[in-house]
Symmetry: C2
Subunit: 154 residues, 2 copies
């Protein structure tokens, strides 16, 4: 998903855009993953799950997590399993619907995440430092409109 269009013609501009988009996010992602590993001995998927839970102190269902993070259900199971075994997250069985459980950050998980998130934010600021604030806002706007169009497709 990284190679380029081989000729010119209609539709090539969008293909080019897609390739650039993918290369940019892979580049940044690789850098962030490496730093997360080195500085905090953690991984991107763990960070993602914890970030989602941090925003929802009341907890999230497994299916909420997988929908929000855009990954499969089975995937979340494994990541949460590991976080639970490290004491960063809990699965609370619910009285109402016994198929589901509320996943929440523990006290420790919450503290741990806050520290990582601060570093993460400053890394992103650094890595995207060459994009001006203004440009960042315009780009974000375009991507936002892409998102809403996407969600509204049949």
């Amino acid at each position: 998903m990284v190679a380029g269009p081989t000729s010119t013609g209609p539709g090539k501009d969008r293909l080019r855009l897609w390739i650039r988009l993918l290369r940019a996010s892979r580049t940044i992602e690789a850098e962030l993953r490496e730093r997360l590993k080195k500085e905090f001995d953690t991984t991107l998927p763990r960070f993602d799950v914890m970030a989602a839970l941090y925003r929802s102190p009341e907890g999230m269902l497994m299916s909420d997590l997988s929908r929000f993070l855009l990954v499969s259900n089975g995937n979340v199971t494994g990541i949460v399993d590991r976080l639970v075994s490290e004491g960063l997250v809990t699965r609370a069985r619910r009285n109402g619907d016994r198929r589901t459980s509320m996943v929440r950050l523990t006290e420790e998980g919450s503290k741990s995440f806050a520290a990582i998130a601060a570093a993460h934010e400053s890394w992103v600021g650094e890595l995207l430092g060459t994009v001006s604030e203004d440009e960042a806002r315009r780009l974000t706007g375009m991507l936002k409109s892409f998102r809403s169009n996407w969600e509204g497709r049949e």
Copy 2:
């Protein structure tokens, strides 16, 4: 890597941008992966490797592939192994340096890739259809300048 900034302040615009960028590429990537699987029974990493080789009929070294695709060396080994076992790619031992081998598409691999690439391009056109050609070019320009700044960092 998908949750959002939790407050406002300096650097938040870049964090927002990063999150949008990541969500957009994950969304498109998931859709492309699914179609590649359904329509051609293949995967994105296989497609990526074949795309790189298609651009270089003379062949590529394993290290060229991993550098170009932004993935680790060991990763490429496995993907190429599978492509070789399916007859889509060959590893030609070289006379000069026996540590290396030239990886090339076979005739079959080349034909197979051409068909997939055509579908792939039209899918990208469709998925990014809501981005105007003009906007696509501007976005590409911004990402290009990000790339060159990135490559020029210390």
